[in-house]
Symmetry: C2
């Protein structure tokens, strides 16, 4: 790894610290414990996949880190060329380019339908090629409730807003819009959830600026999400509320398998399948042409997902 | 529709007859009945979606027909250009081209894990553009068991082999290989099931040849599938066998949402979402890194899906 920049190791250290602190905070809300699988990638690097299943609080969740590196080859060269071109940059010669990618990716599916699902991801990528280097940062966190509690959405957004403001006062508003745009399911005409923040391909400032951004936002995840779980995890629910949760999880699966760039990229470039697909919920339902009753809490959620709104003032 | 060839109406009449006979045969095995939704497409045409849910025999199934037509526009032109180019044909000018597409598509998910899931689809497509026309036929049927019964796979294949042989002695062997190739899940290294037949873009013979092929194969579906249901629908099963069925259904979802050309094409061209996604099973599970016990019936199925074999002699 000696050819990579110091940020490679610094960002990897950050995501490992976040993995530890986030897993500890989640375990404090459950009797179940994370199980860790350490894996290595034949071409270079590897990761730590931590999964929690069948807990009293968390039905299924994963908090994964990885740091992978090597030489771009085959269809990877084509995929990265397209990715670079789409950013409006000149595409350098990528055959024999070295890449380094590290990040944390987490998805938590609670058991109680009043507890929201959440996802977060912070990542750093760099390419070294003859005559230059190219790097960018990406990240974000978003909330997917099954029942709409305005105060939960506001709390999640505000915590991330504060985190973003520590880096730049304009970030939150921009990242919030990007999140609504990214987590959109075109064939349903709905957002996946009530959003949060999303950024990608950031490289305008120096690297330490974006390391700090990921650190602020990654730390904010705990204060943004854990209180929602504490408030809702003991709320009684009915079998039909549970059914609704499983039906909505179907939309989560649709988004991740059809549209999520990270999932599809991982599957097509030979990523570790079980680490990528840990994002899928454990129990899911699809019913033909299902519509909740007019005026119901379920219909209110749908209405919101078709019409995203502001949860925090910029 | 006057500008379309007589085959447009003939093939549509065939798929409507098949829809009736197949729905009747399935209903004869269940207490539940198909519910029909008739829909129209704003740009031209429409369809009949028939869905059965929560039956004693069939947990969820759909037998759909459609006949849609209109003028290619926007990204449809690009998608069809690519599709024609991929067939090694010169791409005609498609702006303002008229298209007609009709077919039957069915997916049946039985409740009992010893009853296999099945899918079949027979379709005709034509394009009329200034100076010419282009048409092709496609179709196939395949079986997705949760437990491997050699005799069920052999029966399903042999019935379709006989149907294909009525049109051409070489078809079955070719279509069987194409089915294994098409219903393959690369990220799992498994076929979706034990296969069947699959063909697409056929245009070498005259249209009546392919109409007859679809008729033979479509009729064969009933004799190929219904006996398997009759034999297995009352077999007692355990909760863990049911779990296995739901876990395997997860693979079905992965295939349909990530790789199935028909599903993705339909979602991206504004097809009727509920008719397309009726293919998804009602109850599905994903478990992290799940592997059946060595030597178990579940492991035997997986082994077969990683190593497709011949079920009928050509």
């Amino acid at each position: 790894m000696s050819q990579f920049s110091p940020m490679a190791a610094q960002f990897h250290a950050l995501v490992c610290r976040l993995q530890d602190s986030i897993c500890s905070s989640l375990e404090a809300e459950d009797t179940a414990r994370f199980h860790e699988d350490v894996w290595t990638r034949p071409g270079g690097g590897g990761g730590k996949t931590r999964v929690i299943e069948n807990g009293d609080t968390f039905e299924k969740g994963g908090v994964n880190t990885s740091a992978v590196f090597g030489t771009l080859k085959g269809q990877e060269i084509e995929m990265f060329s397209k990715m670079i071109e789409a950013q409006g940059l000149a595409v350098p010669t990528l055959s024999q380019a070295s890449f380094f990618a590290t990040g944390i990716s987490l998805v938590i599916h609670p058991k109680n339908p009043f507890c929201p699902t959440t996802h977060a991801n912070y990542r750093y990528f760099e390419l070294q090629y003859p005559g230059g280097e190219l790097w960018w940062f990406g990240g974000g966190a978003d909330l997917t409730p099954y029942y709409l509690f305005e105060e939960d959405a506001v709390h999640f957004h505000k915590e991330h807003q504060h985190a973003c403001q520590a880096s730049d006062p304009g970030y939150y508003s921009q990242f919030k819009t990007q999140c609504d745009d990214y987590f959109f399911i075109p064939h349903r005409g709905e957002t996946r959830g009530v959003g949060g923040i999303f950024y990608d391909h950031l490289r305008q400032h120096d690297k330490s600026h974006y390391l700090a951004l990921a650190e602020h936002c990654g730390n904010a995840f705990i204060s943004a999400y854990i209180p929602l779980i504490q408030n809702r995890k003991h709320t009684p629910y009915t079998a039909s509320q549970r059914d609704w949760q499983e039906i909505r999880r179907g939309r989560y699966v649709e988004f991740n398998l059809i549209y999520d760039k990270g999932t599809l990229f991982g599957l097509k470039t030979g990523g570790r399948i079980e680490s990528i697909l840990m994002s899928l919920p454990s129990h899911v339902q699809w019913r033909y042409d299902y519509h909740p009753a007019q005026g119901s809490a379920e219909a209110a959620l749908l209405e919101r997902l078709k019409n995203p709104k502001e949860y925090a003032l910029s």
